[in-house]
């Protein structure tokens, strides 16, 4: 039994998890303007699509604040994985992880990087599920951060909040199609950081569309629909 499973068994939170959760307690006021919000746009590459069995191969992210992509905040991490994921490697072109990070380092780094920012991703749910699985042994039950899935945001902006999801072709809202539609040059597809960068550009463009539709503050942006 390794040391983190020991924690898991006791259900105790690591210190850094506790301080991460503490940060999130201060909620963002609904009237805060969009250009005052801090976003972390992220993506993961995994060994497969089953959160129960698969592991994260790489994590890439970049932050947006003041409606500006801060390239200096870009990260690309390769957590050590128990499974080498030959099948995914074929798609992602990821063979050996570049500079592997031990899980014990990856998780605290991740949480301090995310902080209380709004998490953004394309199909964000899956990425968060994978990340949560990695963090659980350290006592994290869930991510307390507000979340935005760029796919949902795009559908909302293009079809209105009351759109019938069954009428919408999901392939039109894949990252590839959206990049084409919003004029974003697709480079580095299928690397975590590359996709995160594309998603960040997509978010910038979507937020401008949102503004035109009257979505100008945090409350209207995070309104469930």
């Amino acid at each position: 039994m390794s040391w983190w499973e020991f924690w898991k068994a006791r259900g105790e939170k690591a210190d850094f998890v506790a301080s991460f959760l503490e940060l999130a307690k201060t909620s963002i006021p609904g009237i805060r303007a969009i250009d005052q919000l801090n976003f972390t746009v992220l993506d993961t590459e995994t060994t497969g699509l089953n959160p129960a069995e698969d592991f994260i191969l790489s994590f890439g992210a970049v932050k947006i604040s003041q409606m500006t992509i801060q390239v200096s905040t870009a990260v690309e991490w390769y957590p050590v994985s128990p499974k080498n994921g030959k099948a995914t490697a074929a798609i992602h072109g990821l063979l050996e992880s570049k500079t592997p990070v031990q899980i014990a380092d990856f998780v605290p780094n991740l949480l301090s990087y995310l902080g209380s920012s709004i998490l953004v991703g394309h199909h964000l749910g899956f990425d968060l599920e994978m990340l949560l699985k990695t963090c659980k042994p350290f006592g994290l039950e869930d991510f307390p951060n507000p979340c935005i899935d760029t796919m949902n945001l795009a559908i909302r902006l293009e079809h209105g909040p009351n759109a019938d999801r069954h009428q919408i072709k999901s392939e039109e809202y894949g990252l590839d199609s959206l990049c084409d539609r919003y004029g974003i040059t697709k480079d580095d597809r299928h690397t975590a950081a590359g996709d995160a960068f594309l998603t960040a550009q997509l978010l910038l463009k979507l937020l401008v569309v949102a503004k035109k539709k009257g979505i100008k503050d945090f409350a209207s942006l995070s309104k469930p629909w």
């Binding site: 390239v71 500079t99 480079d187 590359g194 960068f197 960040a200």
Partner: protein, 648 residues
Amino acid sequence: MANVIVNRVAEFLKRFPPFSFLSKEDLEKVSTAVEIRYLEKGEVLFRQGQDAQPHFFVLKEGSIQLTESQQESEQIREYCDEGDVFGVLALLGKRPYLLNAKVVENSLIYAIPVSVFEQMLEQNSRVALYFAAGFASGQMVIRQDLSQGQKARGLFRSESRDLSLLIFSDQSEIKISEKVLTCSGSQSIRTAAQKMTEAQVSSIVIVDEENRPIGIVTDKDLRSRVIVRSISTEVSVKEIMTPRVITRKKTAGFSDLYLTMIKNRLHHLILTEDGTDQTPVSGIISDHDILLSMGNSPAVLIHGLMNTLDVKEMKSIRDRAEQMLRYYLENEVAMDFVASVMTEINDVIIRQASRIAEASYSKDYPELAEVRYCFLSMGSEGREEQLLRTDQDNALVYEDVPEELIEKAAEYFLKIGTAIVEVLLSCGFASCPGKIMASNPEWVQPLSKWKTCFSHWILTPTQEALLKASIFFDFRPVTGSSGLAEELSMHIYEEIKSKEVFLNFLALNALMNPAPLGFFRDFVVEKSGEHRDQFDIKARAMMPLTDLARLLVLSHGVVGVNNTFKRFERLAELEPTNEALFIQAGKAYEILMRMRALEGLQHDNSGRYISPESLGKLQRQLLKNAFSPISELQEIVRIRFQLDYFRK
């Protein structure tokens, strides 16, 4: 370790100067610090008068307009497109912005913190020079110092250039005359000289019965040994010949032959079958032949042209002149020198052509032999600016003849004009699509007819007349009696003085082409036809300058200065208040000429249409900066000639 995102940013930046001059480490440092903004159409990135932001900007996609607010209106100063660097005041002087940056199309902008870049500016001279030369957009030092730009261009020039203009361009090109003029030693000096004259050569080899060389007589020998010493020309030639000739084998290497001549101070080297004087003569090399083989120096080419009436050889020499031109242009040789050299070469061709023409026709028209005529070059050759063999524009003027000769003269001079034009065509000069050539009877006229014609244009300045005036008024006498041309110039000057309103029409015409603001999508490029999406450098940048220079020079009553940049030089002297502007305009014209010629040489065409995409970022900037004096000059002309009150 740089990650994918930083690399992506770096890859974009590195395509454009000044980032292309950064080392890998510096580029990474800059890329890491980039902030990416997305602005919507209609937004304003910065406003005139605002304090500089701590960033300068690179346009990633979309488009930005730089405008200047004036009292009531807003003037567009520049369009930025992909890769353009702007808002650099923050970087340079930390002064408030001089322009507004408006988003015309949704734009993705890379903002680069000044603090990160400042250090590189100090350490990297190429980066510093890039900014000093005013290549960044909207830097708006109203009148950029174009000489900095030229200097910068030299520095940024691609390293790969052929260092031709070697001393011996091509050894195999050395011409050895195999037909050697010979005579026996017992023949008279007079006979020998006669033979030389007939063969148009400067030497004769004296041989024995078996054609073995025993001596040589040259032009110089005839002067120094015969005339000076008053020897009778009936004396046998062996008395005055240079005996004991030095000989070489024909197959000897070029350097051996050349060194032999240099060491022995020979103007002529006799070649024999086995290289000794004991075998028959098989050839001769003169220092003229050596000179011709010595690469493409102007003196050599001109010398070569003056010594031939063979059209094929003239063409080959003109072709070689083009190689020399390319070398000059790529090495930033001063444009006035380049232009004068090329003009001289073109002029020599025309003079030789007129000799050919006269030789073929003068015998048939003995009564016209004394009638003076003058061949006029017009357009760019008239302005001494024709670097490439683009359209020839020329005409012919001849003295008025008595009534009974009028018809004959028209016939004769048309033949002369046509023959000259044909030689030029054979030498590779393109034909004028408008038929403004001395082979067109309309443009081969006696002086009085020319005067009537010019007066007519000046008195009734129709669109067509103005167009013709813009071509014909740049005439320059090339061969024949230049007095006729001077008389014509004076006539124009007198006519304009008596009808100054003509200048207003000319001014209106000069403003027909607005100054291009910058390369922006199809903003300035041709919108239709064969040259769609290309930039017409002649019509849009060079012609406005030529027209403005001609107009202003004529308004000062200056005649005889044809060259556009010399006209600007003269204008700078005449109007000290506008000196700087005129100097810049002249420089701009030189840059445009150079660019057009290089483009033409590269694509083997007139160089007139340039694809903005094919130019490097730097050349585009240089070109853009060269546009800047145009609009300022046009403004001066608009006011000076009161064009707002003057409409047709």
